[in-house]
Symmetry: C2
Subunit: 200 residues, 2 copies
């Protein structure tokens, strides 16, 4: 960075560059946009981040970020207490909520087991999940984890830890995405879709 | 966005999505990263944006963002007052400073003339440039504007406005970028590089 921009702007750029999706170059462009749109963007974003930092905490039950604890989903009595959907991160929870496909409760692991990245079971909220299942009304745990090596390792580990609790453990169906053309799908998905074919 | 994330997070995501380089999906990822790295990223970024909003202004001479007015370049007496480099935005000024190729002063236009986007001369800091040239010691104005239709239209317009002031008007050389392979260059650049060829 040019020294001429001043230490404040340099610091802003280096912080923006840490966001996923932004590198050093796009962080500079973002800083420039912020400086140009002071009242429409810079000031509101500063306020929004400060408010988020001050108000948003992790739900002590499911681990999702929210301003309330327990979060709005955990404290919603209209949602099914007998179903727990296990997700890697809040992003997956938000996607599931947008789809409207699930009306139970969630459990956010906070990551996946990864030998490469040195993430062990203690770094994830697995013990909390086992505690919830033992102490609660859950009848089914839906593992909505990614179809990757780490995702499936984590799913197996959780299934093992939940063995003996009597809870039913399920996973999201694998298959052809809606609107997906076979031409563009990877072999793994096609194989799974064929194996799990069902009468129409 | 899921209503479950709370209005604070929704607002943060919609503001992040306005940054260049981030769309709705990557803004969600960025918000998630901010929530995960509360102390390392969320809190410092909030503070940095607030500090930038409070301290950084536009230099009243050249238009560059800085905490000082006149900015650190305009108030630097070691820099050549007889040279003014005209750039579109502060990003170009920073790039020029990083290169160390220029030791004069700058003038930030704040954009380019654009019939399509409805940007006329009054939206740019052209009158200020003419005033600086008439009232100052400038002997040469270097137009460091992009080699696009809008950039060249703006360059022609500025050259017209400065006609009669006696100042010399120059432009950055066009040619093959350092490390650039001819294979990957557009025809326009190759044509310019050939026309402006020089003895080695």
């Amino acid at each position: 960075m040019a020294a001429s921009a001043g230490p404040e702007i340099e610091r802003l750029i280096s912080l923006l560059a840490k966001l996923p999706g932004l590198g050093p170059r796009s962080a500079r462009r973002a800083a420039l946009a912020l400086l140009k749109k002071r009242e429409q963007l810079l000031v509101p974003l500063a306020a929004s981040l400060a408010e988020t930092a001050a108000k948003v905490t992790s739900c002590s039950v499911c681990g999702a970020p929210d301003t309330r604890d327990p979060c709005s989903i955990c404290s919603n009595s209209a949602r099914d207490n007998t179903l727990i959907c296990v997700v890697e991160e809040a992003g997956a929870l938000w996607a599931m909520e947008r789809s409207g496909a699930f009306r139970g409760k969630y459990h956010v692991l906070g990551g996946l087991l990864s030998a490469l990245d040195g993430v062990g079971p203690d770094a994830l909220r697995v013990a909390e999940l086992v505690g919830r299942v033992r102490g609660g009304e859950a009848k089914e745990v839906v593992l909505a984890l990614p179809a990757t090596v780490d995702g499936q390792t984590t799913a197996h580990y959780i299934a093992e830890r939940l063995a003996g609790t009597g809870v039913e453990i399920t996973s999201l169906a694998r298959g052809v995405p809606v609107g997906g053309e076979l031409d563009w799908l990877d072999d793994g998905t096609i194989i799974q879709a064929m194996r799990q074919r069902r009468p129409t």
